[in-house]
Symmetry: none
Subunit: 417 residues, 2 copies
């Protein structure tokens, strides 16, 4: 079955120049993908006549569906509607239904209908009006030789409502769309290249209709499986079978699926085993606690943190021994371990997790250059530490340390409980 | 002077299908505009040979500068590099400098250099390598008949570093860009509409060649002045004169300029007056400490933090009285004040700063709905608290609380020292 393909055209200088972020096109392509329509290109152009007309023509030459957002306001610099009229060679005319809706919209807010707002009810004769119940600019549906153009306002809430209630159902009627099923497998603790070598045979063995993508970020690699076919149940099973084959090859790196983040997965593990957590942070400066507490309901298992930036605080608040600091320094296996044990006792939690290191840019030495970090895990039965050698970038070091510490916690929980 | 125009091409199914948001292209077009380069189109395409080659050719036919991000990983689905080699008809060859950098990158992390990672050091012969000090995929600079192609990794931090340190300066050398002078005035504690009312006359009085942009974000409003001309010194003075006129109208909201963030401004103030800081955090869960410690050298004035998620920790670690918690609850003026005083005494700092609130989504009550927050400041002579009523979004509440707490700290230091 042939792919039903769509392009998204976003019109507006404010997005082109980066004054506002284009959140619409991401959302639109997600919805299309769920509906079995493949987005093959996104284009952003400014309020420039030639650019807009060219973009229409280029997109029409490539795909079945052209979705356009923005440039529908009543002001001079909004060109989309007149240019659609020109492109389809179909004059703008007042649409009576649209006019009464615009009238109603303004009257309900106690405003007069101005000449400028009247123009919002003008539509190219050849298009079908798409009702916009949240705003004054209607959507427009054009059909041309089996291809469909849809124009929608750029206001996210209006666009989303129009897409969900009108456009997606209409498109699925009009086109013979396949079923697409996505599954994201989230891994941590192994780099993209190492993971890809480890699962190379599995990857080459994937069925024709399942595509694999590697999405690396911040010490993690997400594997996205995209399956196409006619039957959702079949695809779900087919993908699950592939995941079952994959897990033995990468089990210890897989922490979750789809939208689940590492801090969320950790939360589930702690709840599952009835464990509580506290953290002692030096180089991460509270970022580790921030990740843990960014999860709703984390107060059920997270007790608290001591951020110990000075040796005094390490000694007074975490009972790190002065001899340890003198003998081994603040960035050492011994200090990391005493911090993890100290916070666990102080906060009376099942587990204590600690970080201490040289985040940079300053503070590095020959022996302990910037990026040298120790992390430690402590529970009632054991305390283990790990050394990391990270980058020279302070923020990156903070974020990587926190992520790797959460993975140390994950591994130890799975091993010990 | 003719505009120097650029197009941004983003390559990757994960962005095309909406699995991750494309934050890169917005940032890139902002930086280009700051450098006097005009973005005329943004295109996102998938990991598809024909689409990528067509996009290269189309962009080359339209503009001087083509910036490409994504598709540079070592795995099978990353096509950008081989297709650039094909497009410029220039074979891939191991770049010795790149190879030694990749080697070093992996060896410093205690890994062997695998065959796949070796491929990261392969570059089209005709391109200039752009060093990527945060990752293993180098950037590439191609020149063709007065036009420039630049390929960068899609990892935001790597891309941003390469753009700032290498690409933008190179582009400004290579092309005859107009002199553009930017000055950012950073304000906090006043909303966009109120600020704009307060400085309306000043705004209308700005010279023709100076444009003003309001950039609101997270409880702050940045005012960006963009001056266009031929002489940088002249523009600097011209802009400074306008700032001198502005300050009397908004002085108490202005905390810094250009890239200086509120946490950096706070650091300078603390150093200036020889003050030390500690924080006690409930609803911000360590994010406030993270902001403070994200500043290099913050260990000179920051002692530490207690994140007290449970009442036990509030009592045991911060000496909050049990009666206070029973009588007024954890989210109250009294608790916030005792937390600030408690941490100040515990950590022996000049100032203690505290946050306690209902971040949400759960935990709200009739009397204290989600978004109810108390923050407090305490020094040797006084303790003051402020109540906030924020949103229903957990992460937004955490970030807003931390920012507003830093502004409370700023105001109190300026008032009391």
């Amino acid at each position: 079955m042939e792919d039903v393909c769509a392009e998204i055209i976003t019109i507006g200088d404010e997005i082109l120049f980066g004054q506002i972020v284009d959140s619409n096109s991401q959302w639109i392509s997600q919805q299309l993908s769920l509906a079995g329509i493949k987005t093959t290109r996104k284009t952003t152009i400014g309020d420039v006549r030639e650019d807009i007309l060219t973009a229409f023509a280029e997109a029409e030459s490539r795909v079945h569906i052209i979705l356009i957002t923005g440039g529908l306001g009543p002001t001079k610099d909004d060109l989309t509607k007149p240019l659609l009229a020109e492109y389809f060679n179909s004059p703008l005319k007042i649409n009576d239904e649209a006019l009464s809706q615009v009238k109603e919209f303004f009257e309900s807010r106690g405003h007069e209908l101005t000449a400028i707002n009247r123009r919002q009810a003008e539509l190219p004769e050849c298009c079908k009006k798409i009702t916009n119940r949240l705003g004054t600019a209607p959507g427009m549906w054009f059909e041309k030789e089996g291809k469909v153009f849809v124009s929608m306002p750029g206001v996210p809430l209006e666009m989303k409502t129009i897409m969900t209630e009108e456009v997606i159902p209409k498109l699925c009627d009009y086109f013979d769309t396949p079923i697409i099923y996505h599954k994201m497998i989230r891994t941590i603790g192994i780099g993209e290249s190492f993971l890809s070598e480890q699962i190379a045979d599995w990857e080459t063995g994937l069925p024709e209709n399942i595509k694999l993508a590697y999405l690396p970020s911040m010490g993690q690699v997400k594997l996205r499986l995209t399956a196409r076919g006619e039957n959702e149940e079949y695809l779900k099973n087919q993908v699950q079978q592939e995941i079952d084959k994959l897990l033995p090859l990468a089990e210890k790196y897989v922490y979750g699926y789809d939208q689940e983040e590492i801090q969320g997965a950790i939360g589930k593990l702690l709840l599952k085993y009835g464990l509580t957590l506290s953290t002692a942070e030096s180089c991460t400066g509270g970022y580790l606690a921030h990740l843990v507490t960014s999860v709703p309901g984390s107060s059920d298992y997270f007790q608290g943190t001591v951020v110990s930036y000075s040796n005094e605080v390490k000694m007074n608040q975490l009972d790190v021994k002065e001899e340890t600091l003198i003998a081994h320094g603040a960035v050492s296996e011994e200090t990391a371990k005493e911090m993890a044990e100290g916070i666990r006792n102080k906060m009376k939690t099942s587990i204590g997790l600690s970080t201490t290191g040289v985040a940079g840019p300053g503070g590095g030495t020959e022996e302990k250059p910037v990026g040298t970090v120790w992390i430690a895990y402590s529970d009632a039965h054991r305390t283990v530490a790990r050394k990391l050698q990270l980058s020279t970038d302070r923020l990156l070091n903070i974020q990587l340390t926190a992520t790797i510490a959460l993975n140390l916690l994950r591994i130890q929980i799975l091993k010990n409980y």
